[in-house]
C-alpha cells in the first residue's frame, strides 16, 4: 500500500448565513462558534479544516452531534460549497469544476452511503443497486449482471424484485452499499452509514465493510459519532469539535496521546485492552532481552495477551512482525497503558468537556 494522498482538504471554512464572507473575517480573527452565532447570527459549520485522506485506506471523521461531520463530508462531492478553502481530489481542485465535471466526479469517482439509506422507494432493489449505471443511460439488461454481483457480495441474493420498504433496515443499508459499489468509484463516502442500525446488525455491517476494504482497498471516508466504531474501522482518525479538527492521526496514537481534555474524556471510557495493539505499547528494540515468556504478533490486541499471560504482570514478550523481532513488551507497561491518562472513568466526561 502506498502513502499516496487521495483527498486533500486545505484551509476549508464553511459558514451558514446570509453574509458568510463577512462572518469569515471574524472567524479568521479567532471568533468561535458560539460567539459568531450570538453576535452575528451565522452558524460556523467548518473552521479551517486541513485533512489528508490516504488512498486505499479508511479515514474516519468523528465528533459529537453538530460538530460538522456531515457538512465536511458533503464538501467532498460538493453537495455543499465552501465559504473558503480548497478540496483536491487526485490533485484536482474540485471547486473549479463545472457542472459536467462535477457530475462525472459524482458518477465515476465518488459514491455515497447515507445514514437514512435514501434508497429510491419507487425502484426495486436491483434498480436501486444499478442507480449509477442507469444514470449514465445504461439499460437494466446491461447493468443487471454487475448490480447482481454486488448485491450478492453484500449478502442480498434473490431480493432483486423487492421494493425497499419490504426490507429491514440492515438489508436496506446493504442495498445502499451495493449501490455505491456498483458505481465502481474508488472513493466511498459514508455518512453515519451504520448509525441507524441496531447493535448486532451494526457489528455485522462493520465486519462487512472491513472485509470489503481488505478486498477492494477503496478510499473510504467514514463518519461516525461512536468511538468504538471509529477505532474499529479507522486507518486515519480525525476528531472534530465545533467545526474544527481537535486532533488527527493514527487511532492508536490518539488513544495513547490525547491532545486535549476533550479527547481525553472521549477516550476514557472505552475498552482499551480490546482496542490497543501490542505494537502501540511495546518498546522498540531488536535486541534480545533477559527472560522471555513467549512471542506475540505486533498486531495482536492487548486483551488476547492478557488472557495468554493469565494476568501475570511479571512476564515479558518478544514482539514479532513477519518473523522478525521488532520490540519487547513488558506486561507492566501493558497494564499501565490500560489506565487512561487523567484516569477519568466517568462516561459523561466527554460530553461535559465538549
Amino acid at each position: 500500500m502506498s502513502d499516496e494522498i487521495k483527498i486533500k482538504i486545505r484551509n476549508l471554512y464553511k459558514i451558514f448565513g446570509d453574509k458568510p464572507q463577512m462572518a469569515l473575517a471574524y472567524v479568521r480573527n479567532g471568533m468561535g462558534k458560539t460567539e459568531l452565532l450570538a453576535e452575528h447570527n451565522h452558524v460556523l459549520g467548518l473552521n479551517n479544516i486541513n485533512v489528508d485522506m490516504p488512498a486505499g485506506k479508511t479515514t474516519v471523521i468523528m465528533g459529537l452531534s453538530g460538530s460538522g461531520k456531515s457538512t465536511l463530508i458533503r464538501h467532498l462531492n460538493r453537495l455543499i460549497d465552501p465559504s473558503a478553502g480548497e478540496v483536491l481530489v487526485n490533485g484536482d481542485d474540485i471547486l473549479s469544476y463545472n457542472d459536467k465535471q462535477l457530475r462525472d466526479l459524482r458518477q465515476h469517482h465518488m459514491s455515497m452511503v447515507f445514514q437514512k439509506f435514501a434508497l429510491f422507494p419507487h425502484r426495486t432493489v436491483l434498480e436501486n443497486a444499478g442507480l449509477a449505471p442507469s444514470i449514465e443511460g445504461m439499460g437494466k439488461g446491461k447493468y443487471q449482471k454487475d448490480a447482481r454481483k454486488w448485491l450478492a457480495r453484500v449478502g442480498l441474493e434473490g431480493q432483486d424484485d423487492q421494493y425497499p420498504h419490504q426490507l429491514s433496515g440492515g438489508m436496506q443499508q446493504r442495498v445502499g452499499i451495493a449501490r455505491a459499489l456498483t458505481s465502481n468509484s474508488d472513493i466511498m463516502l459514508m455518512d453515519e452509514a451504520f448509525s441507524a442500525l441496531d447493535p448486532l446488525i451494526r457489528t455485522d455491517m462493520q465486519n462487512l465493510l472491513i472485509e470489503l476494504q481488505a478486498e477492494l482497498a477503496k478510499t473510504v471516508v467514514f463518519i461516525t459519532h461512536d468511538l468504538d466504531e471509529s477505532l474499529k474501522l479507522a486507518d486515519h482518525l480525525v476528531i472534530l469539535k465545533d467545526g474544527f479538527v481537535v486532533q488527527q492521526g493514527e487511532p492508536q496514537h490518539i488513544l495513547l496521546n490525547p491532545a486535549d481534555p476533550y479527547i481525553e474524556a472521549f477516550v476514557s471510557d472505552i475498552n482499551r485492552a480490546r482496542v490497543l495493539r501490542v505494537r502501540s505499547v511495546m518498546r522498540q528494540t531488536t535486541e534480545a532481552m533477559g527472560e522471555i515468556s513467549g512471542e506475540v504478533d505486533h498486531d495482536a490486541n492487548l486483551e488476547s495477551l492478557i488472557e495468554r499471560s493469565g494476568g501475570d504482570t511479571t512476564n515479558r514478550y518478544r514482539v514479532m512482525k513477519g518473523g522478525q523481532q521488532v520490540g519487547i513488551l513488558e506486561m507492566t507497561d501493558l497494564v499501565r497503558s490500560l489506565v487512561p491518562r487523567g484516569g477519568s472513568s466517568d462516561p459523561d466526561a466527554a460530553r461535559r468537556a465538549g
Partner: protein, 343 residues
Amino acid sequence: MATYDFIFDGLGLRDWCGDGEKSGGPMSMADLLGETSGQKVEVSAWDTPFPSLDNLHDACNAIPQSRDLTSGLERGFLDIKDSLKIVVDPLTQPLSWALNEMLWVMQALPWWIMIPLLMLIAYAVGRSMKLVALVAVCFGFLAFVDYYDYTMQTLAIIFVCAFICVLFGVPIGIAMSRSDRVQRMMIPILDMLQTLPPFVYLIPLIFLFSVTEPKLYGIAIILYAIVPVIRLTDLGIRLVDRDVIEAADAFGMTKRQKLFGVQIPLALPNIMAGVNQTIMMSLAMVVIASLVSAPGLGVLVLRGIRSLELGVGLLSGLGIVLLAIILDRVTKAALARINASQK
C-alpha cells in the same frame, strides 16, 4: 344641506367642488323623496351616514358617485376588450375546436361502442371488475332514462377540460416547486381563483367571447378547476424526501433526470389526488356553465329551475351525482394503485 358639507366648507374646497348648487347628475332616491314630500332631511347624530362616495357626492359634486365607479370599471374593461380579444381569441381557439370535436365524437359513436369503451377505460385505470360493473350500471341507468346524450355531453366537456387542466397545471406546479419566487407569485392568484364565486368568472368572459363559442364555458371551467392540480403538484414535489434528492445529486443525476426519474414519480400520489379534485371541480362547474350555453346535464338542471320541472331537476341532479361517483372512484382507484406500488 348634506351631512359632510362642513368638511368641504371647513377646508375651503367649496370652489373646487364646483358651484354650491347641486346640479347635474341624477339625485339619490332619498333626496328625491325628501324633495317631493317637501320636508327637510334632518339627520341626527345617531343616523350619521358613512362618508361613502354617494354621501360625499351629496356634499360636493366633484366627488364621483359609486355608480360612476362601476360604470368606469365597465368602460375600462370594454376599452381593453378589443385588444385583449386579439390576443386571447386565437390562443383559446383550439379549446373551442377540442370541445366541439370531443362533443361530436362522443355523441356520434353509438352507445354500444361508447359504453363498453368507457368500461374498458375504467378497467385500464382502476384494474377492478367492481368498478367496471359500477360504470356499466350507472351509464346503463342514465341511458335507460333517456339522458344518454346529455351525459355524454357533460362527460366530453369534463374530459377536455380536465385534460387541459393537467396539461397546464402540472408544469405550473413544477415551476412553483422549483422556485420560491414563482410560488409566492402564484399563491395569491390561486387563492383568488379558488375563492371567487364561479359566477364572477362568467361575467367578463361573456363580454369577451360570444355565448355561442364553447371556449367561453371551457375557460370558465378550466380556471375554476385547475387550482387543485397546480397546488398538489407543487406540494407533492416539495414533499419528496430530501434524503432521496440528496442521493440523486450525490450519484450525479442531472436536473432533468431528477425531475422525471425521482420527483415526479414520488409526487405522483399527490398529483393524482389533485387530478381527482380537478375532475370533481370541473363537474361542479359544468353545471353552472350551462348558464352560458354549456350543453349536458346542467341544461336539464337549469330547465328544472327555470320552468319548475321538479322531476327533471331531480333526475338530472341524480345523473350528476352518478357521474361524480364514477369519476371519483375511477381516479381514486388509480391513486390507490400508485400508492400500493410505491408506498
